[in-house]
Symmetry: C2
Subunit: 124 residues, 2 copies
């Protein structure tokens, strides 16, 4: 059975927090087995846990904050706009992609596709 | 060849305007032959021109305004957050979905999937 919208929203909230503040394990715990990640859309789809782990491992050591700006739920899917702010010493960069996720019956992410391009990355 | 991001953005702009102010033909002109429409995500996918025409025909007579809030382009896809405001006499309703579109090499829409739920429809 498709989880209630509020349950899916909690996974989205947890994801946005985990990407900024969590470990790779915190992020991976939100994914179902066999999940796929395509970030950005049009790039090679990551289909193994190792390749998804590699993707998030890049973010783990960065000092970051995040904010969920808009989240829309439809059936077992969510589309959401969020802002990720990364600090490198005195330099701060912002990117605010739109991500689309599908979920299984336990509200674990089965697929993630992120919509953004390098031009959306801004120094602030 | 994938159109430039600015070209895809123009189709998105034209779509957001046509949905509010245009005729069904104006909207359909932005779609490629064989396009699909799933609005909201999780509902039956419309795969024929007749069924897509039927979908937009409902919107044509309504007095509406629209605004593109955020648009993210990645490869041949766009994800965008927009607001559609509908006036029925003295009553005004707002909905601001996130739509995801794929485009062909001529920047015509080959698929549209809209993320929103009835709870997102607000009287303002």
């Amino acid at each position: 059975m498709t989880p209630e919208p509020d349950v899916l929203r909690k996974t989205v909230d947890a994801y946005v927090q985990a990407v900024a503040h969590g470990t790779v394990d915190d992020v991976l715990a939100l994914y179902a087995e066999g999940a796929t990640v395509e970030d950005p859309a049009g790039s090679e789809v990551r289909t193994t846990e190792a390749s998804i782990r590699e993707f998030y491992a890049v973010l783990e050591p960065i000092e970051q904050t995040s904010e969920l700006l808009t989240c829309r739920i439809a059936a077992n899917t969510a589309a959401f706009h969020f802002r990720l702010t990364s600090h490198f010493g005195e330099n701060t960069f912002e990117v605010d992609p739109i991500d689309v996720m599908e979920f299984d019956d336990e509200a674990r992410i089965t697929s993630m596709r992120a919509y953004w391009s390098p031009e959306d990355l801004k120094q602030v």
